[in-house]
Symmetry: C2
């Protein structure tokens, strides 16, 4: 028989930590904490299987569930010595969601279930605190009304309205200042509001309350923001959430009570020592929703509640030792007694991830392999250590100029300069309109509804909330620059006006925020490279002077010990190549030669306008020395590492001016008539340039272009080799879909190589291979590999052709496609992460067929997917030899490759 | 040991007819004719293996070849009683190419090898005819100079020039009027010209002549026109040609000599009875190159040479009985004795093919299966029987108006009206510039160099030459409308002026030619449907009154007995559907619904301009009744046959005016501002519309469009079914590459079906399937087939995406791609014939994976390839259930399907 309900309490639990799939993270850890003797209120977890059943059966429960819940409830009653619904000694419970992976704030919670007019009186009597009892009841009514009865987001905001009216009437500002009379008024008004807005009475039966809350929790798995969140973090819909029913303990019974959220280390930079927020005499969401200014655990909890604080620090240490990871905990202190309500591995920034991972290795808690696992450092988060920070001099100057506005709590390290935007919706729209828009989202506080807007912003700045606030938490996870609790700011999100220290800023004004220090500046501030970049690339900082570099290098060294994939870079210029080498690149996987033509656009245009081969050759001859120089520079920089050079790829019309002024200027420079230019532009116009006259099709129609490029490559190679530097050019024919396309171009390349070697009396080792970027190349990879010496998957174009989807044109439907509430076709943008079933299927075929014809064929990837951790792992899985990505993604690819090799 | 040389002579031969692969068609049939006792001069064939060796070894021969040739030459000498190079009794030989498949006029021939100053004197003495000996020598010098020494096509045309000068000097017009003195002068001038233009002497050594001629014949396998020809008829380069050395027999020894070319039946319409051309006192190419007006065998040979004529007719009959096919023969009559120089299966028009096939069945020579084989009727040639012919009344009127210009020999049946063009190069250019250009190529005569220009023309008209002329032969094979020997025309191809009976026409003027009657008209003449179409579609002609219909029907009936593939049609309108049924269509494989939107463009535009769903639904509601009517019409016409309806596919911008005037008009009609229209047009603009917001992506973003179309389909289906006509709609979701794209749209369709069935109280059987047109759909066909009830390959788009090649943009490179002398990437246009390795590979995968998930999955093809015989055969091979093509291609597809099933 299926077991759906798992009890915990009295020091023993049905579940344990490794049952997260079934019990969710919260449920499994409540069980685990119970088992290891930590103070956890009794309760039970309804498993994720019930959630799955619920959605598969039109929102009905398994028939066995009711009896199991009732049995578990009896055990909770026993453990707590109270009784659910008892008119004299009532048990109250919380009903909380909890999925396998933490999805903070995405799903719903209802506290104080079990209260009604009878039990609230009993609670008042038992606690001797009527105010507390009424405060609990008004919270239940609020949460039940919003979550269960669907009034959340109602345009009238009835509960906010009631609360504000009560405060006004009584003349107080904060919730906890409300007196008994006000609270009683709120309770009655809330009941009336529920009746008015839903047509139904608030149910007085505790069981009815509980079952409806359970239904709401399971229902919240499919709410909009939960779905968005799952997409962002690739959590499958199939997992479902568990539902935890936990006996209430109260942080709102008086000043010897508190509730809080803590991290066992700093979540922003990973510095050791507990950090967090708490509130005296408060309950539940109060801490994270910014309704009152929170206090910081590391600053005042030791004085406020010395015993409980010591106990909390001890528990934190115990949990770190037990879980061998930094923890994020929720607790309530009820009449000076500590209760643990949750623990989970803490979300952290890339900085904190690197620091915690290396520190834990040094503390002997985890192995090096653990440290470089994606659990400790999601590979993509490494990029945070490479992003620019504010230039100290520039910051000083801004300060001197009076641009420093205020200081908040630093919650996401980094430097962000951008335009103020006060509404998440607007941020989202602006980002859609201009994907390069740099935006700073400035808010009183953020809520789970703001998720999409936060994603669109470069940095986040809030007036309210601590390091445990929603804004801080989400920023940590998204790697956004973030400052919270900048309380001096007064933000009107309706008008978009931000006032601070008498200064008025408006939406669109520039703002600079320093996520390391919490400083907020008006205007823009120049950035400088991060410490790691200063050491590696700029060589302006001695390695031993940078602790961040030391940690970064440890991680990279550990990663290199395990990875099987080589990591190359996409670079066209010697300085890019040098940067990439500093980041650990082992070769160039893609040198696009386009810029070489753009750099000599007049000659290029002369060639495009040529009416015969002789004229074209004349123009090409002018480009030869430049290309040769460029290649020589690259070969020198790469010092014997392989350099894959792609021959000219874009359609010729990309090199011609499309507007009248440009065409007139071009006519003047080339001494042609404007009509001639216009005619050529029209002649070269294409309906679908993606599928047009480009790639090897250019070199096939104009073999002299290929010949010139080959000459430039081999002359440069010979020259550099003669200078004593090893060279290894790999000439790459783009867009070949037919073996004969490849061999046509290969022949020109090899003939030119022989010619140059004969002319110079020097031979150079080289390869000729092809870019695999149309499906036909994968399907006939065996034929092509019979001739080609290497393959490189051009997954950008391969994705476009395999899916029949243009990256320039997918805007109008891709958001519907990746939105689980709309079309729900794709889990991720296929141009960011390889579509493994489709494009990946063809890649697999290409690898298999290619190696079938040429065992040991060298195969890489040079599309933008080469720097995406999931795609790197896929490349490892299908047996590629290397990935190639932009220089700043090289460390990420190295780490992802190691994670792939370790399988974790 | 390899055998390279095959002797024939004295009634016995090393080879035989079924050794064509080795000996080429000419060599194998010379051997066969020798074996069956026909009069063939002795000779030997150097096999195609030597040609292969020649190209694989840098144009060298196998070392054994020389000895084998010498041995064979001795046998020829024995058989003929003469000796090669003997100063007194010299053997002369011809050196002729001969590939596996006949490639008429494409490769080179050298006659009279063995002549020099010594042997020419001996020949004069032996024959008692100095004129003949000199004529033979000047022919050798001409052919050797052009073919072996490369002077063919030289800008000075030295040999033409010498011949014309000699005729002028002597004051005669025709070659055969030249006297001994003139011929001697020509011989000396020709030797001098060879020396002058090549710097080399004409070799006097007969062996040197022969070996050089052999080299030229093998070399001609790779000449330009041979390569073009092979591409057109899909002959692999690897086959190579054989080379035949045959003892000369002379048709130019006097008036008891002749040479000719004959068909055992009429090549244009297949009428029984030998036809052909001959010339008295002539040799070799004279008959086909139009240098003298030929005589027609069926008209005068019986009188000119009664004995030889009777023998020729007998031989023709014997050959037909032996080869069980209509033959094309070459013969020489030397002093009243008949010699056979070649026989081969005759090229014929589609009309002749159908008539000969049905006649031979009735004559008991071949089986019905043979008759419908591609050897007897290339499926594509059937289309000639369906093409329009001139309307008799219109022709009479033109005649009355004095538009009839002249009459030639009808050589390719059909009606062609088009613009005069006098140069094949210009024809080719004009066709490239405008693929719809209707051109009539008007030439004095045509040569193999004109092939590309002939291909570009709709009809061909020559002033010189008979039914065996190059123009007639090529037209027969290409299915072009053709008239030859319209001798009253005077054509100046330099100026493009055509004079006939005092009337002057110029290039660009309209001309109408009747390939059934040989009549040539100035201006345009209206056409009417062909006999078959009159019977089947127009029902204006009683079936029993049309012999062509009778034959057509026989072929179709025989084909239907064998084919396994169903044949459907692509049709959007009831009258198209009715036509297709008349041609044998068994369903609609593709109803594009685009026209339904174009027909109500104002509502469509209203919908596109709508800013919300409600507005869109309003506009769609206006379209609903029209679409319902259209579907009802189709269902009625198809009377229970399956009808596959594709939901809206093209991107929305295709429905908006792209120019200013159109936008202004649209603004006026919709009552919107021009700025609004322009903004929407810009918003909908796409960089690569092929890969943009189209197909199911429209229905996913605008589900209301899908809902409206589904409602129209099911309401129409219910209505027609209620009227007592069976209906079988198959709703096709376009462009699905992901299962979820399909299921998203499928759900809307099925929900609407249920709704309509509930509303009307009637259920209709239907299927929901998808079009497979992006590679991803093939790669994940198993997933998609789990939901889709049928597949239909949209091979147009599948080709574009698999090859990364846009049909709108491939112009600038596709000619280089299909040109074996240039890139030589593709044997055929991939949009005409399925790229079997690439696109076909994905189709195969799609079929296998699809049926793996859903055994027995119904799979068809609805791209334009569905009417291409080679593609139909491929579809049969990979196990499709049906092909779908345009109505007029249905008979072709039926025949091709039978040929596929029969494997021949």
């Amino acid at each position: 028989m299926a077991k759906y309900v798992y009890f915990f309490g009295n020091g023993k639990a049905d579940g344990k930590a490794d049952m997260k799939n079934l019990l969710g993270g919260k449920g499994a850890n409540l069980a685990e904490m119970t088992n290891i003797g930590l103070p956890v209120p009794a309760g039970f977890t309804i498993s994720t299987e019930v959630c799955t059943y619920f959605y598969a059966h039109d929102r009905k429960y398994p028939p066995e569930l009711k009896a199991e819940v009732e049995a578990a409830m009896r055990k909770v009653e026993e453990a707590m010595g109270t009784k659910f619904g008892d008119p004299k000694n009532p048990l109250l419970v919380a009903c909380r969601s909890g999925a396998r992976d933490s999805m903070p704030g995405m799903m719903d919670t209802v506290l104080n279930i079990g209260l009604n007019d009878t039990t609230v009186a009993a609670l008042a009597k038992l606690s001797g605190n009527e105010r507390f009892a009424l405060d609990s009841f008004r919270r239940l009514l609020l949460m039940y009304g919003e979550v269960v009865m669907g009034l959340k987001g109602h345009k009238d905001h009835p509960f906010d309205h009631i609360l504000e009216t009560a405060k006004e009437k009584q003349g107080v500002k904060l919730d906890n200042e409300l007196n008994v009379e006000s609270l009683r008024w709120i309770v009655e008004q809330s009941k009336a509001a529920i009746k008015k807005y839903t047509g139904k009475e608030f149910p007085t039966d505790p069981h009815e309350q509980m079952w409806n809350a359970i239904g709401a929790v399971f229902g919240s798995w499919m709410n909009d923001r939960a779905c968005v969140y799952r997409r962002q973090y690739a959590i499958p819909d199939e997992w479902g959430t568990a539902c935890n029913i936990v006996a209430m303990v109260f942080g709102n019974m008086g000043d010897d009570c508190a509730t809080g959220v803590a991290l066992t280390r700093d979540g922003s930079l990973g510095t050791p020592g507990m950090t967090g927020d708490y509130l005296i005499n408060a309950q539940g969401e109060d801490v994270v929703n910014g309704s009152r200014p929170t206090k910081r655990i590391e600053e005042t909890l030791g004085q406020d509640m010395p015993k409980a604080y010591k106990e909390l620090v001890d528990v934190g240490h115990k949990l770190e030792q037990h879980y061998r990871n930094m923890q994020d905990i929720e607790f309530t202190i009820s009449r000076n007694k500590l209760y643990m309500l949750q623990t989970r591995n803490a979300k952290r920034t890339g900085f904190a991830a690197v620091r915690v991972a290396t520190d834990l290795v040094e503390e002997g808690l985890i192995s090096k392999e653990d440290a470089i696992s994606s659990r400790f450092i999601p590979a993509g988060d490494l990029s945070q250590l490479l992003q620019p920070v504010f230039d100290l001099e520039a910051k000083k100057a801004a300060d001197k100029a009076g641009k420093m506005l205020t200081k908040g709590i630093p919650a996401g390290p980094g430097a962000a300069t951008g335009k103020i935007v006060c509404s998440p919706q607007k941020a989202e729209q602006m980002k859609q309109a201009d994907p390069n828009a740099a935006l700073i989202l400035v808010r009183e506080e953020t809520t789970p509804e703001d998720l999409r807007g936060m994603k669109a912003a470069l940095g986040i700045l809030t007036a309210v909330g601590g390091v445990s606030s929603h804004a801080a938490l989400v920023s940590r996870q998204m790697g956004k620059v973030c400052i919270v609790g900048a309380g001096e700011m007064d933000i009107d999100h309706h008008t978009g006006i931000v006032k601070v220290k008498g200064l008025t800023l408006k939406e669109g004004d520039d703002l600079a925020i320093d996520g390391f220090t919490g400083e907020v500046f008006a205007g823009r501030i120049a950035t400088k490279p991060s410490e790691v970049v200063q050491v590696l690339i700029k060589q302006e900082l001695a390695p031993e002077k940078s602790a961040w570099y030391r940690r970064f290098k440890l991680i990279m060294d550990w990663a290199d010990q395990h990875r099987k994939l080589n990591v190359r870079t996409n670079a066209d210029l010697p300085d890019q190549a040098a940067e990439a080498i500093a980041f650990g690149a082992e070769g160039i996987g893609l040198c696009r030669t386009e810029h070489m033509f753009f750099d000599h656009i007049a000659e290029m245009r002369e060639m495009i306008m040529a009416t015969d081969t002789a004229e074209r050759e004349k123009a090409l001859a002018k480009m030869l020395p430049h290309q040769r120089n460029d290649f020589a520079g690259l070969f020198k920089a790469m010092a014997g590492r392989p350099v894959t050079i792609r021959l000219l790829d874009p359609p010729l019309h990309e090199f011609l001016p499309q507007n009248k002024a440009g065409q007139e200027e071009m006519a003047r420079i080339l001494g042609k008539s404007v009509a001639e230019i216009t005619r050529r532009v029209e002649e070269l116009h294409e309906s679908n340039p993606m599928l047009g006259h480009r790639g090897c099709r250019l070199g096939i129609v104009y073999p002299e272009i290929t010949a010139m490029q080959a000459r430039a490559i081999f002359e440069a190679a010979v020259q550099v080799q003669k200078s004593g530097v090893k060279v290894l050019p790999e000439v790459m024919i783009p867009l070949a879909g037919f073996k004969k396309e490849f061999t046509n171009q290969e022949k020109i390349v090899r003939q030119m190589a022989d010619k140059v070697f004969a002319e110079t009396g020097t031979k150079v080792e080289y390869l000729v291979g092809t870019m695999i970027e149309v499906p036909r190349a994968c399907v006939t990879a065996d034929e092509i590999a019979a001739a080609a010496e290497f393959f490189s998957f051009g997954t950008n174009d391969l994705t476009q052709t395999t899916l029949g989807m243009s990256r320039d044109d997918y805007g109008p439907f891709i958001s519907a496609y990746t939105d689980p509430k709309k079309a729900d076709v794709l889990a991720a943008d296929p141009f960011a992460t390889i579509d493994q079933d489709g494009v990946g299927g063809l890649m697999k075929m290409g690898v298999e067929k290619g190696r079938q014809a040429r065992p040991g064929l060298k195969i890489g990837i040079c599309g933008e997917h080469g720097g995406d951790p999931d795609s790197v792992k896929f490349c490892h899985k299908i047996g590629l030899n290397y990935v190639s990505c932009s220089p700043f993604r090289v460390p990420i690819a190295r780490l992802a490759a190691a994670q792939a090799a370790l399988g974790k």
